[in-house]
């Protein structure tokens, strides 16, 4: 590796330079360990870990391995093609990540989704949240060496993928919401599928809890590891369940309710400890909470259209089946010039979309702030002072997903 790329000063006289045996005794000793990008305990990112024995002294993250320029590409495309582009940032959580974009575009176009579409979107967002939490928990299991948790977690997730495929047509990249509603209506058999899915999840999660969360080894590996208190979490700008695990009481769904969140009743899970165990517990409770929210939404699901009246002026026959043809109407619509903001609570935290529209069908600039990027700083801080063996546990307890962070 070239000297210029090395992020640390390894020249004589610097902290990490060891000149002779004597220096090893008194002062700070350093060994740089490069973790990733090909490593079972790190995703598509690289971490420069500086070790003293097996204590982590410093961690310098090197993200950007999955930076694909979503923000830049969004400037050269018509706005109706942005939904599939933005969702690639976090594909297992695609409903939540596109939610922000769709809400911002609705403000720009002056569209208002009908009540049925709002309920369906919120329901899918909650299913997507359950799926992402299961994904993170399954991967946390395999990072701790608990392969059974991975297998069981993915078995559960696979049912979510199948139900998503039934409802939207795609397993993972669903691109389900469109400005002004949703792409497809929820048919009675889909409602039945979601009900059965919840029933099976509830039954299987009991086993998953016995297997993974009640396992003394899991608890020993996670408790007291990578603790961040509320003040520090607020300083570092942690968002989502990871901030709530430290005791920060902030949830976008409560603070600024969007779509059907204002009409249903739910609690946000909160913990005090702020360690890896608390972060896991918060997400576990969120899964339970999301299941009850989905049930409430299905109970109160209103009848009617799934796309806004304004989109139907050309082809009213697509009233209930908002597939394909009706989307061509967007080519007749222009966003109002101005700036539009939308903030939603994705599974891993608050996601912000900021659109600058100039009246053209191409957005002038799209700012896309993702939760994993906000949590990266805290993840690195939480690793410091811990053992090297705990690093994968801290890494995955933050649910860090590099494509989401790098955009």
């Amino acid at each position: 590796m070239q000297r210029a790329e090395w992020p640390f000063n390894v020249e004589a006289g610097s902290t990490f330079f060891v000149e002779s045996e004597e220096e090893l005794r008194g002062g700070r000793r350093g060994m740089t360990l490069v973790v990733g990008p090909q490593h079972p305990g790190s995703g598509h990112m690289r971490l420069f870990v500086i070790l003293d024995g097996d204590l982590i002294v410093d961690v310098v993250p090197d993200p950007g391995f999955v930076h694909r320029g979503i923000e830049k590409l969004a400037e050269n495309r018509p706005y109706w093609t942005l939904v599939p582009l933005v969702e690639k940032a976090s594909i297992m959580d695609s409903m939540n990540i596109t939610y922000a974009l769709v809400l911002a575009l609705e403000r720009a176009l002056g569209l208002e989704p009908p009540p049925r579409a709002r309920y369906i979107r919120t329901m899918m967002a909650e299913l997507s949240r359950i799926r992402t939490h299961l994904y993170d928990m399954a991967l946390l299991g395999v990072f701790l060496g608990h392969t059974t948790a991975f297998m069981w977690g993915f078995a559960l997730m696979d049912m979510y993928a199948e139900v998503f495929a039934k409802i939207t047509g795609a397993r993972t990249t669903i691109a389900y919401p469109v400005p002004g509603g949703v792409r497809r209506d929820l048919r009675p058999e889909h409602v039945e599928a979601v009900r059965r899915l919840l029933e099976i999840t509830r039954r299987k999660l009991r086993d998953f809890k016995t297997l993974f969360l009640d396992n003394p080894v899991t608890r020993a590996r996670l408790e007291g590891v990578g603790a961040i208190d509320a003040k520090r979490a607020a300083e570092l700008g942690v968002v989502g369940p990871f901030a709530r695990a430290s005791g920060v009481d902030y949830d976008v769904r409560k603070a600024r309710p969007y779509d059907a969140y204002g009409e249903i009743d739910f609690e946000t899970a909160r913990e005090k400890a702020g360690d890896a165990w608390a972060r896991t517990l918060v997400r576990w409770r969120e899964i339970q909470e999301s299941m009850s929210m989905v049930e409430q939404l299905l109970r109160g699901l209103p009848d009617g259209d799934v796309i806004d009246e304004a989109l139907l002026f050309r082809n009213p026959e697509y009233r209930r089946e908002g597939i394909g043809g009706v989307l061509g109407v967007y080519t007749y619509m222009y966003p109002e010039p101005g700036e539009y903001l939308a903030l939603v609570e994705a599974a891993r935290g608050a996601t912000l979309i900021h659109l600058w529209a100039t009246g053209s069908q191409r957005i002038y600039r799209m700012r896309f702030v993702t939760p994993s990027w906000r949590n990266l700083r805290a993840m690195v801080e939480a690793m410091k002072g811990g053992r090297l063996a705990d690093m994968p546990a801290v890494y995955m307890s933050f649910g860090y997903f590099p494509p989401e962070a790098d955009r």
Partner: protein, 147 residues
């Protein structure tokens, strides 16, 4: 006689390689989610002798999961070169073919410009079944290899 022995050994080696395609833990982009499903209990790629391996020195197949960025391309190349022969590459997803939804991005390269690709899988992301089909194709290729 020598030819016969060599033929038998080569056949055994090919049979071994066919049922032990082990990819290293190299995740290049978001198709890694479907790779998770592939190794999960529903699709279970281990039936075909496929198992994620911690060390690239003991692995013989790379599954390129989606986009390769310029930053990642260097490491994909390093990892490919460090792997022992015979080695195979499956390029997964539309991004690794031509760019997919990221076509025209300033920070990505098609997989074929980085490493030789033996099988492509289309989709964004491809379903686990499609990846399994590509794995079967690579196994077929190993079976009918020369020598």
């Amino acid at each position: 006689m020598r030819a016969l022995v060599s033929q038998a050994v080569s056949r055994a080696a090919r049979w071994g390689a066919k049922w032990s395609l082990w990819p290293p833990h190299l995740v290049t982009a978001c198709c890694g989610v479907e790779i998770g499903h592939l190794f999960g209990s529903a699709y279970d790629a281990e039936r075909f002798g496929m198992l994620p391996m911690g060390s690239l020195r003991q692995s013989n197949i790379i599954i390129i999961e989606g986009t390769i960025t310029l930053k990642m391309a260097k490491f994909v190349k390093y990892i490919y070169e460090q792997m022992p022969e015979p080695k195979y590459v499956i390029a997964m997803g539309a991004c690794s073919m031509k760019g997919g939804v990221f076509y025209g991005s300033y920070h990505m390269v098609p997989a074929a410009k980085v490493v030789p690709v033996h099988a492509y899988v289309s989709g964004c992301p491809p379903t686990p079944e499609a990846v399994l089909k590509a794995v079967a194709k690579v196994q077929d290729r190993i079976d009918h290899a020369e020598g």
